[in-house]
Symmetry: C2
């Protein structure tokens, strides 16, 4: 990930030319030549001079000529320098921000917020948006309900963090009656409502040891059922949400060909690689940008990922961002990702504060 060697000193002029070249290339996708650059820039230099500079930049690995008589194109390294220091982030216009703000109403459920954010990213950037589902290290049990199915199967309904509902089917060691299950649920709801789920199992076992004399059927049932309750469900939900995959089709022009695109789609359905990339952003502070080959995945060549963590009450709980061609309008995309992350953080935190309101009452 880190660059092979430090950026060699690059004088102001070279940097400026690189910036203009990258911007131009991002604009219209054609290799940029010295003549164009001479007209584009304010420096009033002749194409010949610019050619010298460009030759330098190419030598240092920032640029690349597709062929002898074409203009030049930024390399991954060139993009890296560009996004790291050269680019001027355009703040998003207020109307768009307002629009986003309106869509991300905190009275949606978590699922709704996440998919709305994903659609938002996709719509505004015209790229592919994706949002990791928020994972909290600290999940509070609010309410639990057991319903007997046939044989030794039990439907468990968990209400977590005030509003999230999860349900799964567990297989118990023996058949429990509806009354037993009801009692077990009542016990859990009375004693453990508000507790952290991750510690619930150990707490239960402790309680069982302390009141060894009271170790009756009720407790047994409770422990049996509750300990199965938090096993990972088989068909666990997807870990992130995507929108706008169709925008990836823009990649299909020119030499990149349809095959790479197919690989990319395959990656998405497999989703392991993507998740790994997203995970790397979890610990980072602000916006993270992965440029093409840097990611290490061959399929991601020609692609970039712009991502930002989002948080609930100050704690980072997830990552969102967009995937698109390396040649994407970073100035816009960065601020869009940034704003969306902040808005989602706000929306989720407001939901969280329901909890406080509730306890105050």
């Amino acid at each position: 990930m880190s660059l092979q060697n430090n950026h060699p000193p690059l004088n102001e002029r070279s940097q400026h030319l690189l910036k203009v070249l990258v911007e131009r290339y991002i604009r219209d996708g054609q290799p940029v030549g010295s003549r164009t650059l001479a007209e584009e820039t304010v420096l009033n230099l002749s194409p010949a001079t610019i050619r010298h500079v460009l030759a330098d930049l190419e030598e240092h690995g920032y640029l690349l000529s597709p062929h002898t008589s074409a203009g030049r194109v930024p390399t991954a390294r060139g993009y890296r320098l560009f996004v790291d220091g050269l680019l001027t982030v355009k703040p998003l216009d207020d109307s768009t921000v307002k629009q986003c703000q309106q869509q991300l109403k905190p009275d949606l459920n978590v699922q709704g917020l996440v998919s709305t954010a994903s659609n938002l990213l996709s719509d505004v950037t015209r790229l592919t948006g994706l949002v990791m589902l928020p994972r909290r290290d600290h999940v509070t049990l609010r309410h639990v309900e057991f319903l007997p199915l046939n044989d030794n199967r039990v439907l468990v309904i968990l209400v977590l963090n005030e509003q999230e509902v999860q349900n799964r089917i567990i297989y118990t060691d023996r058949v429990y009656s509806a009354a037993e299950l009801q009692q077990a649920a009542n016990y859990l709801n009375e004693v453990y409502a508000g507790c952290d789920v991750s510690q619930l199992r150990t707490q239960l076992l402790q309680a069982m040891q302390n009141d060894r004399e009271h170790l009756n059927n009720l407790m047994q049932a409770t422990v049996d059922v509750a300990s199965k309750m938090f096993d990972k469900p088989k068909n666990s939900a997807p870990d992130y949400v995507m929108a706008g995959q169709e925008n990836l089709l823009d990649l299909a022009d020119g030499a990149t060909g349809i095959n790479r695109l197919r690989q990319l789609f395959a990656t998405f359905t497999q989703k392991r690689d993507i998740l790994y990339l997203l995970d790397q952003c979890l610990n980072a502070e602000g916006i993270q940008i992965f440029i093409g080959e840097e990611a290490g995945y061959e399929v991601m060549d020609e692609c970039s990922l712009v991502a930002a963590p989002y948080s609930v009450e100050g704690k980072v709980v997830g990552v969102l961002g967009v995937i698109g061609p390396t040649r994407m309008p970073y100035e816009r995309v960065i601020s869009i990702v940034d704003v969306t992350a902040k808005l989602l953080s706000v929306a989720l935190s407001q939901k969280g504060s329901d909890l406080d309101l509730l306890h105050d009452k």
Copy 2:
């Protein structure tokens, strides 16, 4: 949808040649000429004779020459005749059927079954699979739970049809205490468990009129909350599930171009058109096939949809199928769709029988 005019009488030989031509074209995608056909078929005819027949078929609208010196290609009408009567359905080999059967275990939840079926269709056909979510005209309430949130919002958890859990947030007219909600839930669970949800509201109102003297707070709360309970949620879940969209990329070869593909993707995200097509299959008996332009949607040109309804306990509750290029191996696809529909029906029906088992106990 119906054909413009009846198929004019087509002698055996013409039909056979059309069949062979379509099969061949499906195999390798190249226009088929008279010489190839002469070798392919068993009829021992000279290319010249076959040319006469082909000219006839073309005149009747079954075939089409891309240009003067190319072979011939089936038209939508040609495909129609082919799938309606000519094609010989290949039964699926047992190992594949077994494999499908193993995947569609009835102990998955409905969501799981549907997405597994979708993946199955996509994997086995290498096309895009889609499954409409089962909609039952008859939804039984098993259990309901109310949890107060802040202000006048209530989290409602519904258990329907024994295993399906739905949850949503409703806004009540006034703030209810936890105790009130608990009572209301108890009342509903005791009196209306096992009832049809669609009739629940009217039944409630009736009950309220009968016991007018008992119209206490409890009843008021119950009616207030319960009547809001079944309003359609805003972010309603998607109505069908797709898998294998990446297989659509095969369409992107040659003249069809990337633009049509993009339109197609847009269609999928909008999903209205698709749903309309699927709906048409709901009332049909067996396998339905839509061929390209027949569907009436321009974007669906060059595409076909092979669909079959699936059922629970004999009643049709949904449709599944695959979408792919008009030039697809119908013989295989048809039997795959057929088998998948039957297997899904079986799996869903077995789940349904949990209900009976439960009541027996």
